[in-house]
């Protein structure tokens, strides 16, 4: 039977407290275990279990450490959402350009889009460039924020502003994707179904999936912000 280890139990508790970020939990488990074993080796007075207990006591409460890491993890996620927003906008742009290039190459009959088409094209352009501008503003804003040591009301307000920028960029992007969908339907409404329509449909699918991915990403960050705020409130009250 394996000997009980205070250190192993401690790193297990710490990893459980960090369950909001599995990759961080894995990395920290290894890092903290090395720290504690080093502390035991440097101060081996008494028996092994006693030395391990001293090392663990000096390290501190795992929940307090996890509460501080929750802020670090949230900041990392927010930065990723900022980058994701820019990437998604770029993917939508490329899909749109690929579809237009395909129409040219295949000399597709464009169908009669008429006045409705003109209006939708205007909406599409405005919504897309709005998404680009607001997305870049959000990315620059989140990148400029300094991560605080603890979750403060001020940091929560800053994240709230970032979420608003993300929602505005996502909303504009969705409007652009919907406009693209309408334009694609108008273009393809005339000709018969053939392989010519495969690329437009695939490019539209890429746009829709990218926009949905961005919505999921922003929603995940909003949820993590709320749970970090709750944990910080529980820990500090």
């Amino acid at each position: 039977m394996a000997e009980p280890s205070v250190i192993s139990e401690y790193v297990d508790r710490l990893a459980r407290a960090l369950d909001f970020d599995p990759s961080l939990a894995r990395r920290l488990r290894r890092e903290v275990e090395d720290h504690l074993r080093e502390a035991v080796a440097a101060n081996p007075a008494g028996d092994r279990l006693e030395a391990e207990r001293r090392a663990v006591a000096s390290f501190g409460d795992p929940r307090a450490i996890a509460a501080q890491f929750a802020v670090v993890s949230l900041a990392k996620r927010a930065r990723r959402v900022g980058i994701a927003a820019i990437l998604v906008i770029a993917v939508v742009f490329l899909a749109m350009k690929a579809r237009l290039a395909w129409y040219v190459v295949m000399e597709c009959a464009t169908g009669q889009m008429g006045a409705l088409g003109d209006i939708v094209v205007s909406i599409d352009r405005f919504a897309f460039w709005l998404a680009v501008l607001v997305g870049i503003a959000g990315w620059v804003y989140i990148d400029s924020l300094r991560t605080p040591a603890v979750f403060t009301p001020e940091y929560r307000a800053q994240l709230g502003r970032f979420v608003l920028l993300c929602l505005a960029a996502t909303g504009a992007l969705i409007a652009s994707v919907v406009s693209d969908g309408v334009l694609t339907s108008l273009r393809l409404s005339g000709p018969r179904w053939s392989v010519d329509v495969v690329i437009p449909i695939i490019s539209m699918a890429i746009e829709v999936v990218s926009a949905v991915g961005l919505v999921v990403s922003v929603r995940g960050m909003t949820r993590q912000t709320a749970s970090t705020a709750r944990a910080a409130f529980r820990w500090h009250s």
Binding site: L24, R27, L28, R30, E31, V32, E33, D34, H35, R37, E38, A39, A41, A42, S58, F59, G60, D61, P62, A64, I65, Q68, F69, V71, V72, A75, K76, R146, T147, A149
Partner: protein, 110 residues
């Protein structure tokens, strides 16, 4: 008060050269003459936060014991940040010192 300056303390401890978390804490204790005996776990969120901000760079190495450990080194940006914080701190410390030196009773309390 110490919590507000942890970033500067950790950057200062790593300015001497790369080290793993345990060595950073020992260096802080040693350089402060034991005055900064922090709960050791509080230093790790700081190390991770500074790494995320690009002020530290971390890498995994294999220690003599065979265990994998993460070693942190201060980056050029980290040194610049430390220099700026140090200048602010020295200015603040000098101002407080001047205030204490100038303590004397009011000539005319009314």
């Amino acid at each position: 008060m110490l919590k507000g300056h942890l970033d500067m303390i950790v950057l200062a401890a790593l300015s001497a050269g790369p080290a793993h978390g345990y060595a950073v804490i020992e260096e802080i204790k040693r350089r402060s003459g034991g005055a900064f005996d922090l709960p050791e776990g509080t230093v790790y969120p700081v190390l991770h936060r500074l790494e995320q901000a690009g002020l530290l760079a971390g890498r995994w190495v294999t220690a003599a014991s065979g265990r994998r450990r993460r070693v942190y080194a201060i980056t050029r940006r980290g040194r610049r940040e430390l220099g700026e914080r140090r200048a602010v701190w020295e200015q603040f410390s000098e101002a407080i010192g001047s205030l204490f030196k100038g303590s004397r009773p009011w000539q005319n309390p009314a």
